[in-house]
Symmetry: C2
Subunit: 352 residues, 2 copies
DNA sequence: TTGTAGGCGTTATCAG
DNA sequence: CTGATAACGCCTACAA
């Protein structure tokens, strides 16, 4: 591969001049400049990112650390980040942690040796990112946290408005006439799961409804968790008439378990999801869900990072992305409430 | 960050000795070796990948180029590649091309400046990867092609057995009693789409069935394509009783269009997919599909690449991953065939 | 077995 | 405005 020395030789200038032309670090007389640029073009020269990074103590690499690209919510996040990063000349190194904080730590240590310009991280369970980020920032690299925050995080962050999303979704269930609402949350040590639960509780409390402790079930963010906890909920006496799921994967399990219990959704049990994945349109019945844009999450994180790289050293930014409701077919007026109140409930529904 | 000079100073040995201990390039007396290693551990030293790569003219980076991580088939491929690469000390730089060969070219040129150890590529439409790979191989980097092959590709490749998969899927439709089979293929300049069509045609021909040209529709690998072509097919006289889709995304569109046409699947039209994505279980009715493991595809590509990196310079390898059939609910005996042959058809079905 | 020195391709500093 | 030259951190002949 051609290097700057070759360019200098062919264009009959010194190495320093080539660098000046390429980086605009010093004015160079126009004819010389053109000659150099012409050689660069004709030879198809591209600077070695390795040498450049070594010298500048900073590469055009952004490390992106996520739990698992195979989880349907994350690809959009990665894509959003990659699009903005790429169009600004940055490249993404992708790392999966499987929510294992020791794997996360390994990635964090390894990535450092690339002298990345920054990091975009969806922290794993029990992440000690807060400590690690310190040393990255000391090296002049930005660190932006997405989707959920590790304990004590005080740096830049981009999250969805989980609380208000869950709050409004629960309000919707209540307005439909539900009185016995249960919730299946994700792992409560994850901030996003916790916030969603808080939103749920807030709506239930404001409506003056009871929330027996057995109606709050915690599990992992997946189908299996949703299915097993639903079986449990449906065996309670009385059973809930609506289940709010911590995310769409859980909701998928909820739908399956309802069907397997011989019940029907939404006739006997209503279900509300969170994330509005593509699959929400496909399920039977189509899943009502709180929509958050993963693409926007990733892109916003990249934007903040680019600002940091460009020199912004202001206080930590905390961007909160608003959610919206996607009403589909998995929520209906509960059977018990149907007769005396159907008129009113239906009216409310048709308003939306 | 600590460097080898620091280690040398603290351990009171020379720089060269540290390097020899770290790389095993020369025997070092045990006590000295231990002393060096102890310092390395205590200080948490990690070699700079940048300096190392610059010197060795090869980094521990693998470039992974795919059309779009947002497409549900690709995350598993990436994950399979990342898992094996990571456990062997390699890191993945992820690039999305959106099937745009100029974007692919840009990535290819950029990646070169990182001196990657290799490339794993799902080629874009009209990719000229064949030419580019030449120069990568000249630089000692392996290039493995996945899923589909660009024109004239003669290097390592990992693909699914598309032809046999489609062939057997079509045979299944025929055994169920279908006589009027249509196919909606992906873009035929993609080798995987072409192979699947060939498998379909082979089965239809062997059964001595007619295949009117209007029964073969080409479109993009997505829902919209599947839906619009299905509308067209259902308006034909006579309409097909079974539709074989080029992949599951197309099949999704087929299911939607059938429903919107007021028909029912599988009662009036049977549908067969390809890929067996997670969503195939969720659709209504659950989608019968040809299963191929994206994870295995990615992992196999990484394995071949690692072998190349380790020095294997044998002839090009062409690994073909076998597919399997996932029978669900979207295929049934056609209405017309139902009365006279239901006994036999049912018998065949129950055999599987 | 250990140490020394040159160079990978850049950028930045400083002298002309 | 242009050109030498010294790092950046590491590896590897080669010398001791």
């Amino acid at each position: 591969m051609a290097n700057m020395k070759d360019i200098a030789r062919i264009a009959e200038v010194s190495l320093g001049t080539v660098s000046h032309v390429l980086n605009g670090t010093a004015g160079v007389r126009e004819p010389v400049r053109r000659r150099v640029l012409e050689v660069v073009r004709s030879i198809g020269y591209q600077p070695s990112q390795l040498a450049r990074g070594l010298r500048r103590v900073q590469t055009n690499v952004i490390g992106m650390i996520i739990p698992d690209i195979t989880n349907p919510f994350f690809p959009a996040v990665v894509r959003g980040a990659e699009d903005l990063a790429f169009s600004n000349g940055y490249r993404l190194i992708l790392c999966n942690t499987d929510n294992d904080h020791s794997k996360e730590l390994a990635h964090l240590n390894e990535l450092r040796t690339f002298l990345p310009a920054g990091l975009i991280v969806i922290p794993s369970n029990f992440s000690d990112l807060t400590a690690q980020a310190q040393s990255y920032r000391a090296a002049g690299a930005g660190v932006v946290c997405i989707d959920r925050l590790p304990k004590g995080w005080d740096g830049d962050s981009v999250t969805a408005n989980n609380q208000s999303g869950a709050y409004r979704a629960t309000q919707h269930l209540i307005k439909m006439g539900h009185k016995r609402l249960a919730v299946i949350t994700g792992p409560l040590h994850l901030t996003n799961a916790e916030e969603r639960l808080n939103g749920f509780k807030q709506a239930v409390e404001e409506a003056g409804l009871e929330l027996p402790p057995e109606y709050v079930q915690e599990t992992t963010f997946d189908k299996q968790g949703g299915a097993s906890k639903t079986k449990l909920l449906l065996r309670l006496i009385p059973p809930p008439t609506a289940i709010s799921a911590g995310n769409d994967m859980i909701a998928l399990g909820v739908l399956t378990a309802i069907r397997e219990a011989g019940l029907r959704c939404p006739d006997e049990v209503s279900v509300m999801g969170f994330d509005d994945l593509d699959i929400a349109e496909i399920t039977n019945p189509a899943l009502s869900s709180v929509s958050q844009s993963g693409y926007q999450l990733g892109m916003t994180a990249a934007r903040i990072l680019l600002e940091r790289i460009a020199g912004d050293s202001g206080p930590a930014k905390h961007v909160v992305i608003e959610t919206s409701m996607k009403i589909r077919d998995s929520v209906a007026v509960p059977v018990l409430a149907a007769s005396p109140r159907s008129a009113r409930a239906t009216k409310i529904k048709s308003k939306r």
